[in-house]
Each structure stands twice: as structure tokens, then as C-alpha cells.
């Protein structure tokens, strides 16, 4: 793998990475929509889900994409044309930039440097601007209200998300996601290193806070006030149709996948599975698949919660973030810091 990559020129490596990024976004989003949104929720509700297109409805997604592509791309007459049209791309750009920091194996990465998780947290906040653009640019009251609700929620839950990561950074002594994976692979739990040290064990509070805040960042139920269909139609997406609605839709599921991948890297050991040498070349091949398996597992949790819990009220949502998650995350940082120095 390394030998092959080093013989390629810069633009060849770059095009491989672009293709890998596209595959990672589209394939993951497609799998999540089919496995979780179409099938899992159907089984939870004692029905079969889509069965017609392809075996077990596996080509339903293609049918849906075809349907959206042939629909007219309507722009409301009073809307701000440019802002309205650009908004889905801003949201999707944020998702693609998030992907850049994810490692898939010892040599299979896009960038591997100190930026790591700090860059991920920074670019994830850019999507808020896209949501505000969509909400305002649509010139619709439902959209504007949805955009404002989304922003209030994303700002509130970005804080616990960031603070939950700090515990992992303290324990791994680096912000580089690749080195965080290696720290877990080579780590020991009080001298016992058979399974390494996946931070979900030592940082369980951080993991719980991260998953709750992630659910809110993804605006999935019980945190789906921005797109509450019984109040706001579909919030900031109300006026979108055709291709641009599809882009928002892909963005939603791709972001769920990428955030779950970040959680998998931070808390579940990323591309590493116990029992093998982390420097093994084999991981360049199976690493992305292992990571993908962990992503499917974590998104299963996300969608399980989504289809189980009722929607929170706006004041309950803000209280949960500011009065419970933030203090808990701060306490987690203090405890982690003290233990790091003492032990």
C-alpha cells in the first residue's frame, strides 16, 4: 500500500482521495438510509418496509434518487435566489470537510496532523451558516423559524460535544485522530492490554455526553424541533424540492455517518480490532471496513433512539444542554485531568 502510494504523483494521490471521500459520503449515507431508515424502523413497527424495487427492496434508494432527480427544482418567487440555491452546498461542504480528518488505517488517511479533532469541531459549526441561509433565503415563516430553532439548538449542543472530546484528548495526549486510535490500540487498562484501551471504558461519561450532543447536532428525534413536521412542515427544508432537497437529505444522513465515525474513532478504537498488530499492513485493507462496521453500530443507536423517544420541548432541550450536559462534561474533564496527573 505504502509502496504503491509513494510511486504515484501528487495529483494521482489527490484524485484517489477525492474518490475515496465521495464513496465514503455516498455509500455510508445510502447504507444508513436503506438499513436503518427503510428496514430497521419497519421491523420496529412490525411491517416489511420497501419490498418491490430489487431483492428485499434494496434498490428502493435508486428509485428514490430517480424520483427526486426528475422533480422540478422550484425556487419561491420572493426567495433570495442565490442564497436559497447555495445553502444545501454549504451544508454538504461542511460534511465533506469533516470527513478529511478521519483515519481508515495506518496509511489510509486524508490528512494526519495536529489539527485532527479540533478541525472537525470547527468545520462542523460551518453547517449552521448553511441552515441559516436556507431558513432566511426561502422567504417563508416556517423556514425562518426552523432555521432559528436549528441554530439555537446547534449552538447549545456544540459546547457539550466539544467538552466531551477534551477528556479523550487529555487521555490520549494528542488531537490527532490517527494517534488517538494508536493510543487506544497500544493502551492498557491498569496493566491489562489484551483489548487495548478503548476510551468508551475509561471515558464512558464522555461517550454518553458525545452521543446525546451528537443526536442534537444531527437534529434527530428527540431533538428534532427544527424540522418538527407537526408544527413547521419540515422547518428550513420546507421550500426545497427536487435535487436540492435530495442534497439536504444526503447531507443529513452523511453527517450522521461522519459524526458516528468520529465517535467510533474517539471511543471505540477507530479502525483497530484487538488481537492484531496496529502497524500491520492488513489494516489498510480491513481498517475502513472495521470503521464502517462501528459506524453502522453507532448509527443503529442513533436511529433506535430516534424512533423510540418523543420530541422534547424547547425549554427542556436548552435545560438539558446547559444545566446537565455542560456541568457533567466539565466534571469529566476535571476528573480525567486529576487522574492523568496522579496515575
Amino acid at each position: 500500500m505504502i509502496g504503491v502510494l509513494s510511486e504515484l504523483s501528487y495529483w494521482q494521490v489527490t484524485s484517489i482521495r477525492v474518490v475515496a471521500g465521495l464513496v465514503a459520503v455516498l455509500l455510508v449515507a445510502g447504507t444508513l438510509v436503506y438499513a436503518h431508515l427503510f428496514k430497521m424502523v419497519s421491523f420496529m413497527q412490525s411491517r416489511l418496509g420497501p419490498m418491490e424495487a430489487g431483492p428485499y427492496g434494496s434498490l428502493q434508494l435508486m428509485a428514490e434518487i430517480g424520483k427526486f432527480l426528475q422533480k422540478e427544482d422550484i425556487v419561491p418567487r420572493r426567495a433570495d435566489r442565490f442564497v436559497f440555491k447555495a445553502a444545501p452546498f454549504v451544508v454538504l461542504t461542511s460534511t465533506f470537510l469533516l470527513l478529511v480528518v478521519l483515519p481508515g488505517g495506518p496509511d489510509a488517511w486524508f490528512i494526519s496532523n495536529d489539527l485532527g479533532i479540533y478541525l472537525a469541531m470547527a468545520v462542523s459549526s460551518v453547517s449552521v451558516i448553511g441552515i441559516l441561509m436556507a431558513g432566511w433565503g426561502s422567504a417563508s415563516k416556517y423556514s425562518l423559524l426552523g432555521g432559528l430553532r436549528a441554530t439555537g439548538q446547534l449552538i447549545a449542543y456544540e459546547l457539550p460535544l466539544l467538552l466531551a472530546v477534551v477528556g479523550v484528548v487529555i487521555q490520549a495526549e494528542t488531537m490527532n485522530l490517527q494517534e488517538i486510535v494508536l493510543a487506544q490500540a497500544n493502551g492498557e487498562i491498569f496493566g491489562w492490554g489484551v483489548i487495548g484501551n478503548p476510551f468508551i471504558i475509561t471515558q464512558f461519561a464522555g461517550f454518553a455526553i458525545f452521543m446525546i450532543a451528537m443526536q442534537a447536532e444531527l437534529t434527530q428525534t428527540p431533538f428534532d424541533m427544527p424540522v418538527a413536521e407537526s408544527e413547521l412542515v419540515t422547518g428550513y427544508m420546507t421550500e426545497y424540492s427536487g435535487l436540492r432537497f435530495l442534497l439536504f437529505f444526503i447531507g443529513e444522513f452523511a453527517t450522521a455517518g461522519v459524526f458516528s465515525a468520529i465517535a467510533a474513532v474517539l471511543f471505540l478504537g477507530g479502525w483497530y480490532v484487538p488481537g492484531l498488530d496496529p502497524a500491520d499492513n492488513l489494516f489498510n485493507v480491513i481498517g475502513p471496513l472495521v470503521l464502517f462496521g462501528k459506524v453502522v453500530l453507532l448509527t443503529f443507536l442513533v436511529f433506535w433512539v430516534r424512533f423510540t423517544f418523543p420530541r422534547l420541548r424547547e425549554d427542556q432541550l436548552q435545560r438539558l444542554a446547559w444545566k446537565f450536559l455542560v456541568p457533567l462534561a466539565l466534571a469529566n474533564i476535571v476528573v480525567t485531568g486529576v487522574l492523568k496527573v496522579v496515575v
Partner: protein, 179 residues
Amino acid sequence: MTPAGVLAASAASGDLFVAQNVFFGVIALVMIVSAIRCVTTRNVVHAALWLVLVLAGAAAQFILLGSEFVAVTQVLVYIGAIIVLFLFGIMLTKASMGDDDSVAGEKRLMAGLVAVLLAVVMGIALVDSYSDTRVVIDEPQRFAAVSDAIFSQYIVAFEAVSVLLLAALIGAIVVARKE
């Protein structure tokens, strides 16, 4: 942030950073156009969105200089927090579609004067202080080096700023509370 710094570094190491210089020019052009549109547009939301481009351009320039930490902080703080706060405030209060002639009306002359004055003063100060200094970029600045500097050399300034922020925070709560 000057191109002279990049040029000096390339001269020092013996080769010319062609790509860096080309991209510096491109990004600088985008920043200048966006900055001009930001102050001339008659729509408040558009002005805030043009400002996003200016700040993103500044972050890109920091990346060209190898200051990754400053670049990411620029994105996190300015784009992710301050601009979002601007847009949020505008949309909560007054977010009319289309042009609004009351924006930047009679204060235009004064604003231009202040801007020119500021540019001249800051330009002279920067050239006077740093024209002999050369930025040498061997490798990207490490995060650990930044934190080492903050928590040893600049610890007093850092603590002073955090106390100031805390005071501002408490002040905001006191002002917002009605009793």
C-alpha cells in the same frame, strides 16, 4: 501575513514557493472583493455572508503560512460563533428580503474616512515594526508549541484575558436579569 514573509522564506530555503504565491494572490483577490461587497451591499444578511468569505480567506492565508492552529481557531471562533451570532440576531429582529436603503446611508463618507485612516495607521505601524523581520517557514507550527508558549511565556496575559472574559460573562448575566 505579508507575501514578503513567504517570499523571504522561499529565498532563504533557495526555492520559490510558486503555488503558495499564486494562491495567496487568488485568496487575497477574493477577500478584497468580498470585503468591498460587504460594505457596499444594501442587504444586512448579504453583508454578513460576504463577511464569512473574508474571514474564511483570512483562515486560508494562515494555512498558507503554516499556522494551522490560528487558521482553525479563526474558523471556529469567527465563522462558527461570531457570524452565526450576527445572522441569528439579524434574523430574530429584522431580516427583510431584498435591498434596504436605510442601510449605510448618510454615514458612508464618515465610515470611508475612518477606514482609510485605520488602514494608513496600521499599515505604517506594521511596515515600521516588521519590515526588517523575515518569517521562516520550515514546517507547520505544532499545536504543542503554541500551548507551551501560552502556558509559559504568555501565562500572565492568558490569565488576564480569561478573567476579563469571566467578568464580561457575569456582566452579561447581570444585565440580562430583570429583578
